[in-house]
Symmetry: D3
Subunit: 137 residues, 6 copies
């Protein structure tokens, strides 16, 4: 039985800012720099969702990649695309929307939805120079 990893790539565009409510403005601006801009800024995010398992001997599918795409879009992308990550997303309430935290939240949204194989990795790219990965542990 060969274990193969299959990745689906999806994109979304969102606004956010980094800010700790308990801190003063000064402390926020010092700590987060221009990412703390009160009027928000935004990104084109690239999300990679990797599942792992054994390809079916007849169909050659680890998982139907269109089904994987439907889950990722329905459970994640539709909730984040063209949204404000601090204000518009119930499952991000109270969570600092850093790239790091987003990978954990997205993992938790998807882990139970993947049937017949298992979620292996979430990779989220925020800019050409920054990305984060989470493997569920």
């Amino acid at each position: 039985m060969a274990k193969v990893y299959l990745t689906r790539v999806e994109k979304f565009n969102a606004a956010h800012r980094l800010w700790v409510d308990d801190w003063s403005d000064d402390r926020n601006f010092t700590f987060f720099g221009k990412c703390a801009n009160k009027n928000w800024h935004g990104h084109n995010y690239t999300l990679e969702v990797t599942v792992a398992g054994n390809p079916d001997p007849v169909t050659g599918f680890l998982m139907d990649v269109r089904e994987l795409s439907k889950i990722v879009i329905g459970d994640v992308i539709d909730h984040l695309d063209h949204k404000n990550l601090n204000l518009d997303v119930p499952f991000l309430k109270g969570i600092q929307p850093t790239t790091e935290n987003m990978t954990i939240v997205i993992w938790n949204r998807l882990a139970d939805k993947i049937k017949g194989c298992s979620l292996y990795k979430i990779r989220l790219q925020e800019t050409d120079k920054i990305y984060a990965e989470y493997l569920g542990e």
Copy 2:
């Protein structure tokens, strides 16, 4: 005398929304779709600034590309990066921040600043699937 085109690429991340104040909410949402989200969304923008002219016979420079970069960053990027294009940018006041309009505004910011050669084109990429170009006429 050979006319050469030299391009500098710079990036910025910003929030915006598309909205006409004189229109009802309904009309805005119908016309602009999810781009009208009241809490904003955002993008990683890629800006390409092309200048045209004759390379200097001794230095081989059409224009010092570090000088070009300094102008683009000082006059454009520093004003747009990690900003809200609808709220934070004086020279965008009253202008709908579509990719199309942004190329014209950026052209007008830069045209007089380029010395010894001439501004030829502004290209602004908003997502992997959309970009606009303006040649000043």
Copy 3:
């Protein structure tokens, strides 16, 4: 009145081969090399459609890019994606499916469909190393 160029990028995957029916097999294989493989080969094509015009003073839209996308998908992508360019596409009947010819055919499909501005350029990328462009003349 500022003339701006707006580009929409769409992708499709297709099979094809290069072959002249009036030629012998030998002549075809000599001329077209491995592109003549009788059992076909295929590509991930990237199509760029550029329109030109004046952005609307109120909406900032040269053309609604979602409308442009709908036209490109409905009139081109849906007919080419996951198809055999030699066998499955009525509007390619009798036309050698080179990248060059494809840009002309796609131009002719789209030119009359663009309203309120004008089609400016078709760019079709066949591989990382080959692309063709057509401006309608």
Copy 4:
């Protein structure tokens, strides 16, 4: 002794379709969607072959990357490039040419050919949105 991973990237263009002979046409079209098109479709594939081992203390080479390239091209690319993956490739006979299955087949072609270090991973990208990986177990 430091274990380093070295990756070589090569590309090929091929036609294929996804189809189970024992199934009716209807069941194939329902299951595989447009990937079942009888006249085939195709892709630009990007193959990454990663080997692992200790760099030679004198030459700094884990493995001569030109030698690695020669093996990958001779044993894999030359057999797949500009081919029909369902019809033209003896070592794919009877194997559904999904991205998942292809990574296993390519691993099996290469594992014994790598000398002085060991094959670590095969990564095959089918489109910008889909790739599979296999580590040999």
Copy 5:
């Protein structure tokens, strides 16, 4: 008769520095900055060669792209790849190897070699942030 533009992309890796022999070291370092490093630096260059003409009505070829590739490799790439642009290249003797100048030199190498259609543009990318173009006039 439809005029189509066909582009071939090729790459090379080379060392160079920017330096004017008639200037003092100080003046060179002030003017060219770190690009004047006496022990050289280098780049992965991406060269795009665009030809223009009418596709043949039978073959659909503007020009055989393999023939175009052979000319670009034989007359340009083989002379520049893994070379020092200041020391190793006879046709660059006495020419400052800026991206701008290189496009002119490459144009002059290729213009007469293109048969049956005409050279339209040379585009040379030096880094992700800098490229130059030359159209022969």
Copy 6:
């Protein structure tokens, strides 16, 4: 406690050659091919530095990515950018500047500088077709 991986991407341009001083010219040219060119060649290198740890519950930061960038630039990029890897870099003295060896040297430069989380991986891309990775063991 969730373990997340955060990656920062930085670039540099450098000259180098592959050469063993104890070998004859002939043996060097036979073994290293055009990479042994006595007058050097060069590359645009892309460096990816990955750190691993638990995001802070308040700030959502695994590590301040601007701080990570400052360390990577100060301890690595500033020493390699626009340099000759064989001649200009004290910490590369006596080390063959292959991509493989460079990942080990860069790891050793950075491992002790990362505070509050730990260095996980160094990835260095030399060309579009070659990259190496090192995980510190």
